[in-house]
Amino acid sequence: MAAGFKTVEPLEYYRRFLKENCRPDGRELGEFRTTTVNIGSISTADGSALVKLGNTTVICGIKAEFAAPPTDAPDKGYVVPNVDLPPLCSSRFRSGPPGEEAQVASQFIADVIENSQIIQKEDLCISPGKLAWVLYCDLICLDYDGNILDACTFALLAALKNVQLPEVTISEETALAEVNLKKKSFLNIRTHPVATSFAVFDDTLLIVDPTGEEEHLATGTLTVVMDEEGKLCCLHKPGGSGLTGAKLQDCMSRAVTRHKEVKKLMDEVVKSMKPK
């Protein structure tokens, strides 16, 4: 009977739960789904991480290659993110060139990397003007159940913490790069940006970590990316119902608590990682 009602009037069905301040999967309005992270699972990549936010699963693999630094910034390397939403993760994506959702997510991750200064691009330079590292960060969604931006940001952060780059020296005689695979070092991660996404319902109610169905029924979404000092790297609100300044404040405070939760999880994972 409830399943029938859900199919015919999904919004009404949902509102019944919201009136009791909870959601169909039993969560509170401000509660996140269980987050699990697994790093270093892809041995062929220089760094990798798998993040599960409830059912939403995103895997990030990072490969480092050589490239010539850009001419207008000869002491900087590159970080190139790419988010892929294959038909595997949800029936609404078709195979072919990246759709709008994937492009928007890729641009969002590129903005987060740029704004939060998670890595100094100068650290990726080996020899100014001649050689620099380029980190290709590929994020692939394996299961789409809403809140893709949070999962991608966390996966990227975890994978970057896992990346080990070998030492490279430019030999004097041949002017070629010599890679010493035995000596590897971790990247210098300066900040830890954590994304918190909200969905707006009926122009007033804010719920945290929307699932796929909730995103579909929502009238707007909002993503806040915060680093550990409480500074905001990104406030991504792509349209949708209007929000007042006070509501934004509530979102900020929730984002601060979420940052602490994620940081704790990250630290546990990093501690448990055995050095190669």
Binding site: Q103, F108, Q117, H236, K237, G239, G240, L248, M252
Partner: protein, 235 residues
């Protein structure tokens, strides 16, 4: 009939030299708007903010492809073309922002199974581009007669390294700023419809920028009202 009504509502806007309560140096650049300048689209507008200029055209409500139709409301589409080069991922991201903002104000349920297309062409970019695009889109939607529940406007704020706020920054100011925040606000309650930011800033600075943007949006809405009044009083 469209051809005869080519009279442009060429209105020179208030040059916005009033400074907001923040301090000196927070003023909007001179802005101007021209409507109904293209013959083919149902509505068109050109919006100028200082040296930044965007041309918008609106087609709709019109026929929609069966694959894209929504049974109970209009399908909104936004196409943003940069001044040079082919549209890339950044344009797609901006299109999504503008589209969702328009969807929040356009009364799509009055025209189910139709499509409303907003096409934006960047003529010149001298800072605050996204805000100019939003303003041009709003004026074009009004010119096309698309029913909306509110008007919206775009305002850009830039924060430089010592925390000074600048409204409607030029390209040079944007480059040197520590953070650039763009907001879309609605005309009824000045609520935040859309926001996109670049750079690092604190929560308090965000609230400050939002308040300044809300104050600045008053000028923009007053300008919309005056330009429309002048246009319709002639005919």
């Amino acid at each position: 009939m469209e051809g005869a009504m080519r009279s442009d509502a060429k209105v020179r806007g208030e040059s916005g030299t009033e400074s907001s309560p923040r301090g000196p140096g927070c003023s909007l650049r001179h802005f101007a708007c021209e409507q109904n300048l293209l013959s083919r689209p149902d509505g068109s507008a050109s919006f100028l903010q200082g040296d930044t200029s965007v041309l918008a055209g609106v087609y709709g409500p019109a026929e929609v492809k069966v694959s894209k139709e929504i049974f109970n409301k209009a399908t909104l589409e936004v196409i943003l073309r940069p001044k040079i080069g082919l549209p890339g991922v950044a344009e797609k991201s901006r299109e999504r922002l503008i589209r969702n903002t328009c969807e929040a104000v356009v009364l799509g349920t009055l025209h189910p199974r139709t499509s409303i297309t907003v096409v934006l062409q960047v003529i010149s970019d001298a800072g605050s581009l996204l805000a100019c695009c939003l303003n041009a889109a709003c004026m074009a939607l009004v010119d096309a007669g698309v029913p909306m529940r509110a008007l919206f406007c775009g305002v850009t704020c830039a924060l430089d390294s010592d925390g000074t706020l600048m409204l409607d920054p030029t390209a040079k100011q944007e480059k040197e700023a520590r953070a650039v925040l763009t907001f879309a606000l609605d005309s009824v309650e000045r609520k935040l419809l859309m926001s996109t930011t670049k750079g690092l800033y604190s929560d308090a600075e965000l609230q400050q920028c939002l308040a300044a943007a809300q104050a600045a949006s008053q000028h923009v809405f007053r300008f919309y009202r005056e330009s429309l009044q002048r246009r319709y009083s002639k005919s």
